[in-house]
């Protein structure tokens, strides 16, 4: 059989609206890490030595040149990095030498980058969270719900956010973000 060609949920969408850019980050791989009960210290040490990242506090992410590690909960984190492997998880598992449980999440999510001046005006029609600088600084991350869809939001830079939502409803999620942009710009 001929090999299979991947198709990202939004086909690599990339649009600008004035100075705002909305882009599907189809290059990103997502792997969730779970810290084994009782072996959290070893897990943190393995994360530090293999990824060169300290496990951040819940609600925050840690970032280096290649990886962003989002703490999703007491025993859970999500690793985001550029990788075009069909399954990014085995390599992460190997690097961590079994110190964390790992699950491939690349295909479960669609990632949209929304960046540019006024980005918070767009997000306040979608995102129920307080995105003021003091409460949601750069590298902050949180799970929430946008237009009835489960979502994750990460502040990459002052005027730049990554929004993640379920890949099956990627079209509806994109529509929600596009609608917000259209309504405020």
């Amino acid at each position: 059989m001929a090999s299979l060609t991947p198709a990202p949920p939004l086909g690599g969408y990339d649009m600008t609206f004035g100075e705002l850019r909305l882009r599907e980050c189809s290059e990103l791989a997502l792997v969730s890490l779970a810290l084994p009960l009782g072996d959290e210290a070893a897990a943190k040490k393995a994360i530090k030595s293999s990824l060169k990242l300290d496990l951040p506090a819940p609600g925050m992410s840690a970032v280096n040149d290649t990886h962003r590690l989002i703490r999703m909960g007491p025993d859970q984190a999500m690793l985001i990095f550029a990788d075009d492997a069909a399954l990014a998880e085995p390599a992460v598992q190997t690097a961590l030498k079994g110190a964390c449980y790992t699950t491939n999440q690349t295909d479960a999510w669609v990632a949209l980058s929304l960046a540019g001046p006024g980005v918070r005006d767009v997000l306040e029609r979608l995102c129920p969270l307080d995105l003021h600088d003091a409460t949601f600084p750069v590298d902050a991350a949180a799970r929430t719900v946008m237009e009835h869809m489960g979502a994750m939001i990460v502040r990459e830079e002052q005027d730049g956010f990554v929004l993640l939502s379920a890949s099956s409803s990627a079209g509806s999620f994109l529509h929600a973000v596009e609608t917000s942009i259209g309504y405020v710009t």
């Binding site: 059989m1 299979l4 491939n104 479960a108 099956s168 509806s172």
Partner: protein, 967 residues
């Protein structure tokens, strides 16, 4: 009639003329006018007809409390009834029409109703239209409904769009009058995150309507300057045309922002935005509403609140009349006379209730011409300014069941002690009825709120102003002959209130419902207090003893469209698409919604006349050769951890501890009460790694319950859950040629029955290296596999499977064929797992292991759930093979002549036409079902008028030994 009542001055922009029409008559106003001020400028006093008696009515107020001047704005689909002319900002091309009349506004045929007023007192229709009984619905009610009422809907879809939004702030300031501005300045200068909202398009509140001074400047100028300072602050969000309409839990407020109502067209932008405001603290500075006095014939066009008269004169440069009389019980009345005189408007008389003076009647059929005093004097007037005092706008303080307190010195209710958490009240809303006091309270409230939050207020005092005099003597109801209106919007008179009391409606809440006092669009803002006072007077009780009705959100009307926001039509909810969706569309699939998913229901082919043709073909071809179905929608949960097996053993009622690696097991989940709620399969990929599938419908529920169990019931277990439903595209490949087809797709895996037996699972690669998972499970009863690949390869995978299946005549099948095959095979699904059935009912009693504890296992041992004569899942065949079965039919014995719930033998859950058997088949629950195989009963279905003889058979209509799926 060209703005004959326009004066000089005001806060309007006279350089911008605005053309508008009322009832087709062209008029002109200025930018900054409301429809009401422009109508008055043009001398239009009569603007509508009253709700019940169709009496001529004019503009009564200058704000959101307006009970009378309700008009329809715009035309066609955009037509909006019941708009308050006092809140409608004038724009060029505005078209307004009056409401609630037959014939013209001037000659309303329905005005005849007024002649019958003595027969139409409160509750008249409960007493009058009692017989004949049948006439109520067919005759009386339609007549009453069509003659009473407000405006008319266009009956077309709303052409505008609406949106929702979320705001967060340290301090929300509700109302931008003097108290609100003082609060906002104090908070804004401190650097706190502030939202200040006002329902008006011009911030300043009464400062724009009075001639007061603040900081030695005109009040309106100071308000404009303060607003400009606030707008320049990054930490302050200034919102005009925004009504905070409700106070909800945890400092959350609802606010409606009207964004394009003041424009001729919204041009695709949201007309209104409904904001959810998350505040840490809130200052309610919503001001106060003036109230009227009940005196005979007090409803004529031209009778107006005194404060509104000052608003029209000072803010809009409009004289509400050429000869104005004043009736008052407080100093505001005198202020009105002074403001009128300053603008050169003639004041024909001042009737001051504090001096024992009163009014006994008024004259003027379609507009006031004169008023008559109690002492018999007649005073000419085309406008009467009435002030019965001011009621603080306490509404939002009561949205969480707070009760206001009575203050005798200002004859008004003020906020009680039980405010919504985080709220404080300042200014007139708090009973501080004078300017300097309001400014001070606003400033102090903001400083206190900031202190509460650990923020330090900026240095500085409250803005300075003089306190005007405010002397009031309660005066509610002037006795006399003729109807004295209490509630103008609902046509409730003082007599109605007294009558209701006589008839036993003594509680103010009952009074409201019986008389409709305080209902409809104005929610009694000008009438509640008056009605209460009249009731108190009639009962001989004090006002605080009489009590108030409870205020509920919204403070003023909110369009349904604003509540709906974007959730409309196809955007009502998100759509989840399967990885093969695009391909299925290319195959002309018909889709069905299952939750938010769109699933292919069947794939019609040319020449097929209906869905049955397609479904039958899909079933036959799958059973004959091979069919492919996208089963991605089934919930998938990745379960890892040292204690994952133990966890599953407690979640499922059957054993999972010893499931070997590389194997799949069917599992049953019970609720705590022992009732079955989900089933599915779980595969073990390694010692500590399982992948569970759930039903599509329960994917979220199962995940949520398992997460609860993990976190709360057994936090000592090392187990971790991740939903991977969307991560993997999964396809069922079923039929005798399934193995041959997959052999072409799956790389290097022995798919023989020995190498990969029934209920095997493995990680693999497909199509030359794409990682995948393979499961040998069957829902159809055929030899079947499920193959999964990362979702972004799903589209390519379905195409590869179809291509590989071409030589076998492989077909895609949809959810209908899936359903038919599972009914033929006798698998339970949602119809059988209906929230009432136990494992025993389903014939799966053996799956509730007695050797271990699992959720629901203990309560499933209850006696009633283990009766030998309980319901059991069976199959049903019609005795006459031509009969079609229906789900929902109940089973009764052949000789049962009076079927009822006591003789009920069970019910049919699922039915299908079986292409395999060539007749209708069913699944259902029958009492002692296993012992009754071969018996004939009736499927009795009075709803559909059917009564069909059916034979009880095994639930496994085909291949009961499972030879095919194990082959």
């Amino acid at each position: 009639m060209s703005q004959s009542n326009r004066l000089t001055g005001g806060l309007i922009d006279r350089s911008v003329s605005v053309n508008f029409s009322f009832n087709g008559k062209n008029m002109q106003g200025f930018q900054g006018d409301t429809l009401a001020s422009a109508l008055l400028a043009n001398g239009q006093r009569l603007v509508g007809r009253s709700f019940k008696y169709h009496r001529p009515r004019g503009i009564f107020s200058a704000g959101s409390e307006e009970p009378n001047a309700l008009v329809q704005l715009r035309k066609g689909a955009a037509q909006e009834p019941n708009t308050r002319a006092t809140m409608a900002e004038l724009f060029d091309g505005l078209e307004a029409t009056s409401q609630n009349h037959r014939g013209s506004l001037e000659r309303d045929f329905m005005a005849l109703t007024d002649l019958f007023a003595p027969f139409l007192s409160a509750g008249f229709y409960y007493k009058t239209f009692m017989w004949p009984k049948a006439f109520w619905e067919r005759v009386y009610e339609p007549i009453i409904r069509s003659s009473a009422g407000l405006g008319r809907l266009s009956m077309q879809p709303d052409p505008d769009v609406y949106d929702h939004g979320y705001m967060h702030c340290d301090l929300l300031i509700i109302g931008a009058g003097p108290a609100g501005l003082a609060a906002a300045l104090a908070a804004g200068r401190s650097g706190a995150q502030v939202v200040v909202a006002d329902e008006d398009f011009l911030p300043g509140g009464r400062l724009n309507a009075e001639t007061y001074a603040v900081e030695d400047m005109a009040g309106a100028d100071w308000a404009a300057q303060a607003w400009a300072e606030l707008q320049a602050m990054d930490n302050v969000r200034c919102m005009t045309r925004t009504t905070v309409y409700g106070a909800y839990d945890h400092g959350i407020y609802g606010a409606l922002e009207r964004r394009t109502d003041h424009l001729a067209a919204s041009e695709g932008r949201p007309r209104q935005v409904l904001w959810r405001v998350y505040s840490r603290r809130a200052v309610l500075s919503a001001g106060a509403t003036e109230r009227s006095i009940a005196f005979p014939m007090n409803d004529r066009p031209g009778v107006m609140l005194a404060g509104a008269v000052r608003t029209y004169v000072n803010r809009y440069g409009v004289a509400p009349g050429k000869r104005v009389a004043v009736f008052t019980n407080n100093d505001d009345g005198l202020r009105t006379a002074a403001d009128l005189k300053a603008q050169g408007v003639e004041v024909t008389g001042i009737i001051d209730a504090r001096k024992g003076e009163s009014l006994a009647t008024t004259w003027g059929r379609k507009g006031l011409t004169a008023v008559g005093t109690a002492s018999g004097r007649s005073i000419e007037a085309d406008c009467l300014a009435v002030s019965g005092g001011w009621s603080p706008n306490v509404h939002l303080t009561c949205h969480q069941r707070g009760r206001p307190d009575w203050r005798e010195d200002i004859a008004a209710f003020v906020p009680g002690a039980d405010l919504p958490p985080g709220m404080s009240v300042a200014g007139a809303a708090n009973g501080a009825m004078t300017l300097a006091a309001a400014l001070k309270e606003g400033h102090a409230a903001a400083c206190a709120a900031l202190g509460d939050l650990g923020l330090s207020p900026a240095a500085g005092d409250a803005p300075k102003a003089e306190d005007e005099t405010f002397d009031i003597k309660a005066f509610w109801h002037a006795p006399g002959k003729g109807r004295a209106w209490v509630d103008l919007q609902n046509d409730v008179t003082a007599k109605d209130v007294k009558l209701a009391r006589t008839e036993g409606y003594r509680s103010v809440e009952l009074l409201k419902r019986y008389t409709t006092l305080g209902m409809a669009t104005d929610q009694g803002k000008t009438s509640n207090m008056l009605g209460l006072a009249v009731l108190a007077e009639a009962s001989g009780k004090s006002i605080p003893d009489t009590g108030t009705t409870i205020f509920r959100p919204p403070y003023s009307p909110v369009a349904m469209g604003a509540f709906a926001g974007r959730a409309r039509g196809k955007d009502f909810r998100p759509n989840r698409l399967t990885p093969s969706h695009k391909w299925a569309e290319e195959q002309s699939a018909t889709f069905v919604t299952t939750g938010n998913w769109l699933r292919a229901q069947w794939f019609a082919q040319a020449g097929e006349k209906g869905w049955r043709d397609s479904v039958d073909r899909e079933v036959v071809q799958t059973r004959r050769s091979v069919g492919i179905c996208d089963v991605t929608t089934l919930g998938k949960i990745d379960i890892q951890g040292r204690d994952a097996a133990e966890f599953l053993n407690r979640i499922y009622s059957n054993a999972f501890l010893k499931l070997p690696v590389g194997k799949v097991r069917y599992g049953l989940m019970l609720r705590e009460d022992g009732i079955c709620y989900d089933d599915g399969t779980t595969a073990r990929f390694s010692e500590n790694h399982f992948v569970m599938t759930t039903t599509t419908a329960n994917a979220v529920l199962v995940f949520r319950r398992m997460e609860f169990a993990r976190q709360c019931l057994w936090p000592d277990l090392d187990v971790h859950l991740i939903s991977t439903t969307d991560a993997w595209a999964q396809f069922a490949v079923a039929g005798p040629n399934a193995r041959a087809l997959l052999g072409k797709v799956v790389d290097d895996l022995d798919l023989s029955n020995e190498g990969f037996p029934f209920m095997a699972c493995a990680e693999c690669t497909v199509c030359g290296g794409t990682p995948g998972r393979l499961f040998r499970i069957s829902f159809s009863g055929e030899l079947a596999f499920e193959v999964a690949v990362p979702a972004r390869y799903g589209d390519a995978m379905i195409r590869a499977l179809m291509q590989a299946g071409e030589e076998f005549g492989a077909i895609p099948y949809g959810t209908e064929a899936l359903g038919v095959m599972r009914i033929e095979k006798g698998h339970a699904a949602g119809n059988e797992l209906n929230g009432q059935t136990t494992a025993a009912n389903l014939g799966l009693g053996m799956m509730v292991s007695k050797k271990k504890d699992s959720i629901g296992s203990k309560l499933s041992e209850r006696e009633e759930m283990n009766r030998d004569d309980g319901l059991r899942l069976v199959g049903l065949h019609p005795v006459d093979r031509n009969d079609m079965l229906n789900a929902g039919a109940h089973f009764v014995e052949l000789d049962d002549h009076h079927p009822d719930m006591f003789s009920d033998q069970g019910y049919m859950t699922s039915v299908a036409w079986s292409p395999e058997l060539s007749h209708s088949i069913g699944l259902g629950f029958v009492k002692r079902g296993k012992d009754r195989i071969g018996d004939i009963v009736r499927a009795y279905d009075p709803v559909r008028g059917k009564d069909t003889k059916v034979e009880i058979v095994s639930a496994h209509h085909i291949d009961p030994e499972g030879v095919r799926q194990r082959g």
